[in-house]
């Protein structure tokens, strides 16, 4: 079973949910941090990292001696990564999406592919479970390929927890695609509700099963809970606004370890997620 933890808005508590969930779930389990722009799970889990591999994307290299300057490659390329000017070509590796189209269409077989580094994948263990983190190099723009590479570590048995990037665009799609269940984390506020609506639309478009965790709930503000009730979306857990929890988070501590009552909250969340999954 693959459980993704996602949200429309950033900073609603995805990493908190994912990392605390990862320690409460029964083994076999593993955690994949797919928020490759700003991965944070390691701060809370302190995994032992055994291997670090560089992740690369292909880009075209043109063999000058074979190129006849026909320009087919630049006609093919939708990303302007290879441009032909007066039978001279220019390659912009940072624009290349690695589709391989130019290689396919070159009539002289003059194009091969080099590899450019865009990030790294760190693999290790936490609590006798596999931990994998993708880390995009600063200055790189394209993250979905790295997210897919991290997701190749998904387990065939047991539970895989995926911490997703925020938003509703391509990095999120890459992270939640083919997951069995998505936990959407929403903040109990006006911004929180607005961005939850976007996240819900996304999950529905992708035909994914999902439920909501409402974070930082104050008794005065019920707008997110009401939205979920009206939309018939299961609320998996409500986490009360708690200054102690916020402070423990600031120190990089797991809430289930240090804040009274949180172990029980997350045990219940585990049960709910497993039940929702079997139910669906």
């Amino acid at each position: 079973m693959i459980v993704a933890v996602a949200s429309g808005k950033g900073g609603t508590g995805k990493t908190t949910i994912a990392s605390n969930l990862a320690v409460c779930l029964p083994r076999p389990k593993r955690l994949l941090d797919c928020d490759v722009e700003e991965p944070n799970c390691h701060i809370f889990l302190n995994p032992e990292i055994d291997t670090t591999e560089r992740f690369t994307l292909p880009f075209p290299i043109v063999d000058e001696t074979r190129c006849n300057g026909c320009g087919e490659c630049s006609v093919m390329c939708r990303y302007n990564a290879i441009v032909t000017l007066q039978s001279k070509h220019l390659v912009f590796p940072e624009l290349c999406h690695g589709c391989g189209g130019c290689v396919e269409v070159c009539p002289e077989n003059a194009i091969t592919e080099g590899q450019r580094e865009i990030g790294s994948i760190h693999t290790g263990t936490h609590d006798h479970a596999l931990f994998v983190q993708g880390l995009l190099d600063v200055g790189q723009a394209l993250c979905p390929p790295l997210i897919y590479a991290v997701k190749r570590h998904t387990a065939t048995n047991g539970i895989t927890v995926i911490d997703c990037p925020p938003g509703t665009s391509c990095p999120v799609i890459a992270a939640v695609k083919k997951c069995d269940y998505v936990v959407l984390v929403a903040e109990s506020s006006t911004f929180g509700l607005h961005d939850l609506r976007l996240a819900v639309d996304t999950m529905r478009k992708l035909n994914l099963n999902f439920g909501v965790v409402i974070n930082r709930v104050s008794s005065a503000d019920r707008q997110v809970a009401e939205f979920c009730r009206n939309e018939q979306i299961p609320v998996l857990l409500e986490i009360p606004e708690d200054r102690k929890a916020a402070e423990a988070y600031s120190r990089g501590q797991l809430l289930v370890d240090v804040v009274p009552g949180f172990r029980e909250l997350f045990d219940r969340l585990c049960e709910r997620i497993l039940a929702e999954f079997h139910h669906s």
Partner: protein
């Protein structure tokens, strides 16, 4: 024209609340919401939409079912796992494109031996020009699962610059996206100043360090402010002391104050609502203005 871009690396640190407050404090600005994934600024500035444009970007492959002979070339050649095979009993397979996974590269379109793949343009969202109490606003909404958010960010920003020039408005305030990749890079390249909003947590510091590396990489003058500083005064102190050596000007600390959420729920900028955080935000804006003047001064001497 000066341009301040509010970013954070980590999401949810208060970018939008600050950007809305700056718009209020500056009087008249052009305001742009470059968080096209989760645009929240309009919830605070209640813009009146004057112009709405579709955001067309790229193409998507669509296989014509009746012309597909089931050879599977599209699936073999697609590197984005966007082609699905539907097996049929007693007949050749059918292949379909998952539009959410399609990168619009056109490889299947080109290589299909039957020319059975259409390649229509794709509408990836919309962008708007609006009027607010604090000046014109440009904002957008990326379609769900769409690519090219960086391109939409560039459209929003360019439109904001154009309006500022046309109307002779000297300041552009940008509410930026979280993260460090494509939409962030599109939001900050060529800006006169970036303000990074950090929360005093280990995650906040981790993400701030990465985003500062990014602003250094693009050589953009950078200010830093801490939001909810009381959450962890020790880490807040370390961020403040480390700001200068990290290459950023420290612009102040903002109190952990429930009036920030209250203002948000009321749909007005924090500084208009009032409270301890409002006072702190005023000081941060003063410091940003001061820093901005010091950037502009040498350029004036050169001219």
């Amino acid at each position: 024209m000066k341009e301040v871009v509010v970013i954070s690396g980590k999401g949810g640190t208060g970018k939008t609340s600050l950007a809305a407050s700056f718009a209020y404090l500056n009087g008249t600005s052009v305001i742009a919401d470059c968080d096209v994934d989760a645009p929240d600024l309009y919830l605070v500035l209640s813009p009146e939409i004057k112009r709405l444009e579709p955001f067309k970007s790229g193409r998507v492959a669509v296989i014509r079912k009746d012309d597909c002979i089931g050879c599977g070339t599209c699936m073999d050649k697609c590197r984005f796992d966007a082609v699905r095979e539907i097996r049929r009993i007693g007949r050749e397979s059918l292949f379909v494109i998952d539009s959410f996974s399609c990168e619009g590269c056109g490889v299947c379109v080109r290589l299909c031996p039957q020319d059975a793949v259409d390649f229509p343009g794709r509408i990836c969202g919309e962008w708007m020009v609006s009027e607010t109490r604090y000046g014109p606003m440009v904002h957008a909404r990326l379609a769900i699962g769409a690519e090219n958010s960086g391109k939409l960010v560039s459209i929003v920003r360019n439109e904001a610059h154009r309006i500022a020039e046309d109307l002779n408005i000297s300041c552009v305030i940008i509410d930026g996206p979280p993260g460090i990749a494509c939409p962030v890079i599109a939001s900050i390249t060529g800006a006169s100043m970036v303000l990074i909003v950090v929360e005093p947590t280990l995650s906040g510091v981790h993400d701030m360090e990465r985003v500062i590396t990014l602003t250094e990489h693009f050589k953009i003058p950078t200010c830093l402010c801490i939001n909810k500083w009381e959450l962890n005064p020790q880490i807040a102190g370390e961020i403040k002391r480390g700001a200068k050596s990290a290459g950023a000007t420290f612009a102040g600390m903002i109190s952990y104050d429930s009036s920030v959420t209250a203002a948000q729920n009321k749909g007005i900028p924090v500084v208009e609502y009032g409270g301890p955080a409002a006072q702190d935000i005023r000081k941060v804006w003063q410091n940003i203005e001061k820093r901005m003047e010091s950037i502009e001064a040498p350029a004036a001497i050169e001219a």
